[in-house]
């Protein structure tokens, strides 16, 4: 070990007796110092504006362009310059003979050289530690463990780059060739996740080999055994190759035996890599304060209940607009989307089925292949997309498959969909949605799983009195949030069963119905319906009631709960927007109802209502009332006159009974009925969750009407759905810096430290040169 250490020491001296190590240190310090100061500046600016900050540690170190991400992206430029000389210099100057003729083994030489790079890398990490220290001193509740995880990954990356550079350096006596070779090898390794992705099995190995983005998860604070082992395996592989190269230099063995040995090492490394990247063998540790990289405890609890085998089959339709996401070359990327779930159920099998059939979401096809048979469309599309048509099942074949599995893909629009199947025969579809995120998030996936482990609420939408419907696409209806499969927040995608409830004649309220939605009835219920509904209410059944101002029918219906509407409609004059558009924000009390409201408050989200009614408790009917939504702090009153909100401006007329106030627009009522708590939610604007009203005509940032739906049904279903996947907010939300002190930090990091290094190294090198 002493000789390894001595070789390392000599290498470090060589590096520092030449300008290269110093220059890299100085440039690295300057570049990272600049990036760090800029992040500090952004955070401070945001704080000074009053916008506030959340997760400051993550913003600075691991955010999208966080410091460690920047380092990860630029590191490949630094390391080859350091490693290029490691062996090349010895080979070209002949000093290798000194090592060869000394009592040291090839392995000791390589270990010594690598140790030198490990130590130099530590120096670079030391620079990053300065920033960490500044973070610890200036950020309230700095999330140190997550930064440790990031630093560890950067260090491992440096080691991997060093091992690769060392190997390239041992191949040639030209330093520049070694540096370029390293760059090429690194580029190749980064590109590996795109190589042979269309060949199953091989794709797992090439995907594993890829070094690009390897640190991402650890920088985010999630330490995964696969990543750590990846670096260790890569380091060991390249060190072994380097040792073998040194030995081969001495033996002049035959080409085939040398390459045979190299291949053996690479293949064993790959086999090891393949094994360590199997979900069953992976271990995780989430270092973040809020465990932000891990499923929420609620989702974890669901996963824990999913015993027995499980298969997730993804059906990919060639003619679907979204076909690309499931194509073989995308499979590994696609699997990443389920990684967090696989983490808690590693034995899950993932399968892909390819077929073609008429999709519901691709009008382009009808346009270009007018009246052409499907088979021809598919053939042409396959040709255009450069895929093999034979890998896709024909409509007939996929029909057989569906019949066998007892599923109906046509009902899913023949679009990209996953079928989750449990060993016990349970099945559910996991869809993708028509929005920016496209893929299901934790809430949606957990809902699908939750449905398998417990009975989830059935929601009946009362019909027959002119209520809003849950099918069709009229603006006033409730299709979108209830049953549209392509809408993420639709109840059907959040774990609920929705159905139309017709109580006419001798039809009864089904026993399994947990919540009844009564929306803006236009006609009075006949006595038959009323009797059944009254019985349901008396039994403690839960209700969601929506209404519009001035509706006598609804007014009389809610009177039984002691609630009344304030006469007139709410107005809130704003520039550019009609005055009867009202901004309603979740109340402080709403936090006790559902975590979704807490989230809305934190994110400054609100519900925009057009022509809404204020709600008040007029009478005590045994219900406890909690205001859920309340009009914004802007001047709001109940406008009693009918005015043209587009052309006229509304004014307060106190004499006529108008009153300026903050009005409650959604109310949560509850009472005990037997062993059960009955829950009733009343919303003062039936339109705010309708197909057309979900996006209110408002220009103030933050309208998020659909957030009301998960919140409302979460409470009505006693927290079962939608699954609460809200996460705690980190406590690192404040930075103790002023504009002036930041300047000092900035000049220190970008000027003083690199300056001292520059002057110090120059003096040292000049003095040495003169010896």
């Amino acid at each position: 070990m002493r000789r390894v250490f001595k070789i390392a020491k000599a290498e470090l001296f060589t590096l520092f007796y030449s300008p290269i190590a110093w220059m890299i240190l100085i440039v690295f310090t300057f570049q990272t110092g600049m990036a760090f100061s800029e992040h500090l500046q952004e955070v401070l600016r945001s704080q000074r504006i009053g916008f506030g900050n959340m997760f400051i540690t993550a913003n600075i170190f691991s955010g999208q362009m966080g410091l460690l991400v920047t380092v990860q992206n630029y590191l490949y430029l630094y390391m080859p310059l350091l490693t290029m000389g490691l062996m090349s210099r010895e080979l070209s100057s002949g000093s290798i003979k000194l090592l060869y003729s000394s009592p040291v083994t090839s392995s000791q030489i390589i270990r010594g050289k690598f140790l030198a790079m490990m130590m130099y890398s530590l120096l670079l990490i030391g620079v990053l530690l300065i920033y960490t220290l500044i973070g610890v001193c200036t950020v309230d509740h700095f999330d140190l463990p997550s930064v440790w995880s990031g630093l560890l990954s950067i260090y491992l990356l440096m080691c991997a780059y060093s091992a690769i550079g060392l190997f390239m350096s041992s191949l040639t006596s030209y330093q520049v060739v070694a540096a370029l070779g390293t760059l090429v090898l690194l580029a190749t390794l980064s590109y590996m996740n795109k190589v042979w992705q269309d060949i199953s099995f091989v794709r797992d190995i090439t995907y594993w080999l890829s070094i690009s983005g390897r640190c991402n998860e650890m920088i985010m604070g999630l330490i995964c055994s696969e990543d750590v082992l990846y670096f260790l395996i890569v380091v060991c592989m390249f060190l072994t190759l380097s040792v073998m190269k040194l030995q081969a230099n001495r033996t002049h063995a035959s080409f085939s035996s040398v390459w045979g040995k190299y291949s053996l090492v690479v293949l064993s490394a790959m086999a090891l890599g393949y094994a360590t990247s199997r979900p069953v063998l992976m271990a995780y540790y989430d270092a973040t304060e809020t465990k932000g990289n891990t499923l929420t405890p609620n989702s974890q609890a669901i996963m824990a209940k999913l015993d027995g085998g499980m298969t997730i089959t993804t059906y990919v339709n060639l003619l679907d607009r979204e076909y690309y996401n499931g194509m073989p070359e995308q499979v590994n990327e696609d699997k990443q989307r389920l990684k967090q779930y696989i983490r808690f159920k590693p034995e899950t099998k993932l399968k892909y089925v390819y077929y073609y059939d008429k999709p519901s979401n691709n009008p382009r096809l009808d346009f270009i292949y007018k009246n052409k048979p499907l088979a021809e469309q598919a053939r042409k599309e396959a040709d255009l997309k450069e895929v093999d048509i034979d890998m896709f099942l024909t409509p007939e074949e996929i029909k057989k498959e569906q019949a066998k599995k007892k599923i109906d893909l046509t009902d899913e629009g023949n679009t990209f969909v996953r079928l989750v199947e449990r060993e016990n025969g349970q099945k559910a579809f996991l869809r993708i949605y028509d929005d920016m995120m496209k893929f299901p998030g934790e809430a949606e996936i957990s809902a699908v799983f939750k449905r398998m482990v417990m009975k989830l609420p059935r929601i009946g939408f009362l019909e027959g009195q002119g209520e809003r419907k849950i099918e069709g696409d009229r603006i006033r209806d409730y299709t979108l949030f209830s049953s549209v499969k392509t809408f993420r927040y639709a109840l059907t995608n959040q774990g609920c069963d929705v159905e139309t409830l017709d109580l006419s004649g001798d039809k009864q309220v089904p026993k399994e119905v947990d919540i009844i939605v009564i929306s803006d009835m236009q006609q009075l219920m006949d006595t038959v319906v009323k009797k059944k509904l009254d019985a349901y209410i008396a039994n403690g059944g839960n209700l969601a009631i929506t209404l519009k101002p001035g509706s006598g029918i609804m007014e009389s219906f809610i009177a039984q709960f002691g609630v009344k509407t304030i006469p007139g409609q709410l107005v809130q004059p704003k520039q550019d927007v009609a005055a009867n558009v009202v901004v309603c924000r979740p109340t402080e009390a709403s936090k006790t109802i559902a975590p979704m409201f807490t989230d809305m408050i934190q994110r400054h989200l609100y519900v925009g209502m057009v022509k809404s009614a204020g709600l008040v408790m007029a009478e005590d009917k045994g219900f406890k009332a909690i205001p859920v939504l309340q009009t914004d702090t802007m001047k709001t009153w109940n406008e009693l006159q009918t005015i043209d909100y587009v052309n006229d401006s509304a004014t307060v007329d106190i004499a006529s009974g108008e009153k300026v106030d903050s009005f409650v627009t959604a109310l949560a009522l509850s009472r005990k009925v037997g062993n059960k708590e009955q829950r009733i939610m009343i919303i003062g604007d039936a339109d705010c969750i309708s197909n057309g009203g979900m996006r209110p005509p408002i220009r103030i940032y933050g309208a998020a009407n659909f957030n009301l739906i998960p919140g409302m049904f979460h409470w009505l279903s006693y927290g079962t759905v939608p699954v609460d996947v809200s996460r705690p907010v980190g406590s690192d939300n404040e930075i103790f810096l002023t504009k002036e002190s930041l300047k000092v930090v900035k000049y220190g990091l970008m000027g003083v430290i690199p300056g001292i290094l520059l002057i110090g190294s120059t003096i040292l090198l000049i003095r040495r040169r003169r010896k």
Binding site: K97, L98, P103, T105, Q247, H252, S254, K771
Partner: protein
């Protein structure tokens, strides 16, 4: 027989398909300088590289101090010092730093490192330059540092590959003296093209040609390798050439100068004695009688040629 310091057995080495050395055998038993001769490409450097562990032989064994280089290279190399033709110097190090590093590599006891370095510095006469950067040293001194690194760990066996290459005549003399000095208490294998160097420093010679050992012996044996069987005789009053030819054992005659002849003879001592006696007896005025030896150059040329045949 005492243990050989170096023993080379059936050494063969092949670069790709071509044999560079083939079945070389020799032993070095005692202290002193052994010259390794051979023309360019003869296999000298290959042999030395193998002995020093820089190359791994294809076949055969090298034992240093009884330890097989193949079996325990680390132990074997503790007793080897090697100065390759291209000096293995770290140009950015000072002399002392460099030698300290070498001592560490060669497993000198931690506590002895300083002392060993000091000794090597002094022995090689570079102590006053200990703080100098190697890149700032002249060629002669760099050569000395090269030798110093080879002896810093006090090995029993030192290999020097053309140590006087590129030096001026004064430096050559200094370095040769240095080599002789360090050979006093160890074996030195010296490779060179310069035959005068061999003459000046070596007590033994090994010669390799085309990968094979063509000569191994003392410098005298080398000198006499070609027995020319000629003698030079100077006679004040020489007789007629025929008369000389008639003498027993004399085979040819060549008049080099009016009074100086080169006589070919049968190589018998008796013939030379007789010639002297007759010259004196007949009053030819014997001035000089020298038995000619072949020059090293000639031997070298002959050995190389012989092998080329």
């Amino acid at each position: 027989m005492e243990n050989a310091i170096v023993k080379v057995e059936n050494l063969s080495h092949r670069y790709n398909s071509q044999w560079a050395v083939r079945d070389i055998n020799f032993e070095i038993h005692s202290q002193g300088v052994v010259g390794l001769l051979g023309s360019n490409g003869a296999g000298k450097s290959t042999t030395m590289n193998i002995i020093c562990g820089v190359l791994k032989q294809t076949k055969g064994d090298v034992l240093v101090n009884g330890v097989n280089l193949k079996d325990d290279p680390v132990e074997a190399k503790r007793n080897i010092g090697f100065m390759p033709q291209k000096l293995p110097l770290y140009q950015d190090f000072t002399v002392e730093e460099y030698l300290t590093y070498c001592a560490d590599l060669r497993m000198v006891e931690k506590t002895q490192v300083k002392k060993s370095v000091q000794q090597a510095l002094e022995r090689c006469g570079v102590a006053h330059f200990r703080e100098r950067l190697l890149r700032n040293l002249s060629g002669g001194y760099q050569q000395r540092v090269g030798i110093a690194q080879a002896i810093v760990h006090n090995p029993r066996f030192v290999v020097l590959d053309e140590p006087t290459n590129g030096l001026d005549p004064n430096q050559i003399v200094e370095v040769r003296n240095l080599i002789k000095e360090i050979a006093q208490d160890r074996s030195v294998l010296l490779s060179t093209h310069i035959l005068t160097e061999v003459q000046a420093t070596c007590k033994e010679i090994k010669m390799i040609e085309e990968g094979q050992m063509v000569f191994s012996g003392t410098i005298e044996m080398f000198d006499n390798y070609i027995e020319p069987n000629t003698l030079i005789i100077s006679l004040d009053m020489p007789p007629a050439n025929d008369e000389l030819l008639k003498l027993e054992g004399i085979r040819s005659i060549e008049q080099v100068a009016p009074t100086r002849f080169r006589l070919g003879y049968d190589g018998e001592k008796k013939t030379v004695q007789q010639l002297a006696e007759i010259s004196v007896g007949k009053g030819w005025g014997l001035m000089e009688l020298i038995i000619e030896k072949s020059s090293l150059d000639a031997v070298f040329a002959r050995l190389s040629k012989k092998n080329n045949k």
